[in-house]
């Protein structure tokens, strides 16, 4: 069963606009973390931000922030003032705690974002 769902296969914006990418997930764990990664055209995965389940405050890191709706098991990545360099595929990933697999990531299918100049 798919644990992480990203329903937007593609997205686009103009330079300077705010972009929101959506993600939903399934877990029965109380403690978990949601990560956002961007995959460059080279294939490299770049860490952007993560949200721990126990923190009710939405995390922020530079131009990246999240909107965490825990009760709906959904989280959105918000990119402010988007730039063409932000183009790439964005992945949401779930990590569930456990004795042996705390850092194992379960990925969504990704959203390919294009930011037009």
């Amino acid at each position: 069963a798919q644990r992480v769902t990203q329903v937007q296969p593609t997205g686009s914006s103009q330079w300077g606009e705010e972009v929101t990418l959506d993600c939903s997930y399934e877990t029965s764990e109380y403690f978990y973390r949601i990560f956002w990664y961007r995959q460059l055209f080279s294939g490299e995965m770049v860490f952007l931000i993560y949200q721990p389940s126990f923190d009710t405050q939405n995390q922020r890191s530079g131009r990246y922030s999240v909107v965490f709706q825990k009760s709906f098991k959904s989280i959105s990545l918000v990119i402010s003032a988007s730039q063409p360099e932000d183009s790439g595929t964005y992945f949401c990933a779930l990590s569930e705690p456990g004795n042996s697999n705390y850092n194992v990531l379960y990925f969504g299918s990704g959203t390919k974002l294009t930011v037009e100049p």
């Binding site: 080279s42 294939g43 490299e44 860490f47 697999n101 705390y102 850092n103 194992v104 990531l105 990704g110």
Partner: protein, 114 residues
């Protein structure tokens, strides 16, 4: 810090041949993960080592695939008798073993089985 290093970046093998993929984790990281990425299946977890010990290989295909971590500075993923459906980008990642830490990815090895 050179990051997670994966070699080779590209590998082409003939059907039925063996392929060995290498990963050098970030120095000091004791957790190493292998993932596979295809267009159809997306990013799939394969296996995970902590302090060189195999912890979880639930994502590994039952046949032909094996992974090892003989020392703390490298891990290998070996595919025997490669098949066209093994064609994928194989990503290695590492992190500190404790929880609440970032996972760093290598640039991947693109395996093509012809």
């Amino acid at each position: 810090n050179a990051g997670v290093i994966q070699t080779p970046r590209h590998k082409v093998t003939g059907k039925g041949q063996e392929a060995t993929l290498w990963c050098e984790p970030i120095s000091g990281h004791s957790a190493v993960f292998w993932y596979r990425q295809t267009i159809v299946q997306g990013l799939e977890f394969l296996t995970y080592f902590r302090n060189q010990a195999p912890i979880d290989d639930s994502g590994m295909p039952k046949e032909r695939f094996s992974a090892q971590m003989p020392n703390q500075s490298h891990s290998t993923l070996k595919i025997q008798s490669t098949q066209p459906q093994d064609s994928a980008v194989y990503l290695c990642a590492s992190s500190l073993a404790q929880g609440n830490t970032e996972v760093f990815f290598g640039k991947g090895t693109r395996l093509t089985v012809v």
